[in-house]
Symmetry: C2
Subunit: 344 residues, 2 copies
């Protein structure tokens, strides 16, 4: 798709670029005949070229404003870390980050108006953040402006994107358990079809392979990734398969597993080691004993996205460059007190 420019509008209407600018921006104190005005507006409309694009093309200085469109600000603790990362990077470059909380519902259409609101405010670029790692379809107007995806990938869009290393995080977690001496390691997985589900299982299997431990499907189970469901699942798998360690898809599932272990009379970490994922502080730091887990790089993804749109802008692009595949940021292990060697 070739980008439509102000010159195209001027050519089609048979007027100068300046006249197009005056008409579409409704610049005061300029005299343009009504007939000419109509011709310019029709030309712009037929080419899909709006007044904001004109203003943008003609501005000598950028607005210094970067928009962050974020879903689920109200319902997840992850949004805040992305915002903070993007914002501190923006401040370091003298830019202002304005955040729009995306309307509830995740359809591309629902977000079209949110993107438009940012474009209308003449932001230089948009960071488009989802709150868990997944593939999304994007509003069409996101193509009008440099944009970067955070925690998401898009099949065919020309957008740089950044996602967490789900496989690497699981490898770090399970390797930590193996290095403590565990061989019977159960995995409580999520049952959603999202990259984290597949990536964390792949990491789990990779470590077993590395250490010559056979994959035992009786040690792996999945459910909704919440405490109540994980509690039921953990009770079952702990009673049935007697693992010495438990890798949980997330910290909320680990919270349910803690309760199951307690009810079965298993002390953590003496009788059962547990590792979570997400480093959701309010759980991981406040469970007793503190939960060893894997951190998601939300702050770092926010900062990376901001730096990346700056690079695009510095190169003088007014749209995103060709896709290069998602950039994967590491998920580091956070050590607390829930892992010990198995009983001899």
């Amino acid at each position: 798709m070739k980008s439509v420019g102000i010159r195209d509008v001027a050519k089609l209407a048979g007027v100068s670029v300046t006249t197009v600018s005056h008409v579409l921006n409704e610049t005061p104190h300029t005299r343009v005949a009504e007939e000419t005005r109509n011709r310019v507006r029709e030309a712009a409309q037929s080419l899909g070229y709006g007044p904001n694009r004109v203003a943008q093309a003609l501005r000598t200085r950028r607005s210094g404003l970067v928009g962050l469109l974020s879903e689920e600000i109200a319902t997840t603790p992850h949004a805040g870390r992305i915002i903070l990362g993007a914002q501190e990077a923006a401040r370091a470059h003298g830019l202002t980050l304005v955040i729009v909380s995306a309307e509830r519902g995740s359809s591309a259409e629902a977000h079209q108006a949110d993107v438009q609101a940012l474009i209308d405010r003449q932001v230089d670029a948009i960071l488009y953040a989802t709150m868990y790692h997944r593939k999304i379809s994007l509003p069409a107007n996101l193509h009008e402006i440099p944009a970067v995806l955070i925690d998401a990938t898009d099949d065919d869009g020309p957008f740089p994107s950044v996602v967490p290393d789900e496989v690497g995080g699981a490898v770090a977690a399970v390797r930590h358990l193996v290095e403590a001496g565990h061989r019977r390691i159960a995995f409580l997985n999520n049952n959603d079809d999202v990259p984290a589900t597949h990536g964390r299982l792949a990491g789990y299997r990779q470590v077993l392979d590395e250490h010559g431990i056979a994959y035992d499907e009786k040690l792996v189970a999945e459910s909704i990734s919440e405490p109540a469901e994980a509690y039921e699942l953990a009770k079952e798998i702990l009673a049935r398969s007697e693992p010495t360690a438990l890798f949980c898809y997330n910290d909320r599932m680990a919270m349910g597993a803690y309760r199951a272990a307690r009810e079965l009379g298993l002390k953590i970490p003496e009788d059962l080691s547990v590792v979570g994922f997400d480093n959701q502080e309010i759980i991981a730091a406040n469970l007793f004993p503190g939960l060893t887990t894997v951190a998601l790089p939300h702050y770092e993804m926010g900062a990376w996205a901001l730096e990346t749109v700056l690079k695009i802008l510095a190169e003088g692009n007014d749209r995103s460059p060709a896709p290069v595949g998602p950039v994967v940021l590491p998920c580091p292990l956070v050590l607390r007190d829930s892992v010990a060697p198995p009983r001899p």
Copy 2:
């Protein structure tokens, strides 16, 4: 303080209002002598009148943009609810909410630049939110624009504000325990000098008074309002004073109390009833048994603030009206499974 208007600048510079507008807005294609330009700029500067104010005064339409300056977006789950309440109210009125996450550190100076960034983007009004209820000092430039405070009060500013009913929330919690039959009700309070600390204690005492229960200082203790500290405090007070019920300053303290009760062999709610405060979902809904608690009206405060600035704007004010004292919104009880009658 009288508001400085464009007429004041025109009068001081000895030029027309239109000339002031052209000079300060740098309107293209207007001829004003350099000497006149300088005189206008000096007049505007001496009166503290910036170009954005001119633009704002001359605009026939408002920008349709409302700014929300929020602190601690990254570190508290409360921010999201305020954002959602303000945003859904804004959408209902066809407005766009842009959020700026305030710089870390809570000084008025630190927030001056954040407020200015919003003013420079020509927002119609600013919602200024703190993440726990307290008195604050505000950046001076907040006086330049209609503004409403959320979860905060200001001693001398002319700002409408909205805060939670801390006393009423505690009354609801403790009354619920009394109505279940409890008379020995302990209170684990926070030790910060904030309105919630004093208000929740006042509510606790009010219910005791209502029911002729003597205030027993051995049943009241305070600490940092986090699980680890509350665990220690609860262990002590449960062993020493044998209450049948425990009212906790917040859900995080209740989380610590749950652990203490477990270690002392006390079952919740059979041996000990517990009520929290905040309705921090990830804790309250996922503790076992589910924690009966008191909800903070963050969503409602966000919505109230948006509706209130709209009223100010509808009345044609370009600054906030005279203060009327904070509006207090109710904190309703959220029933789960942590309260039962005391053992006979």
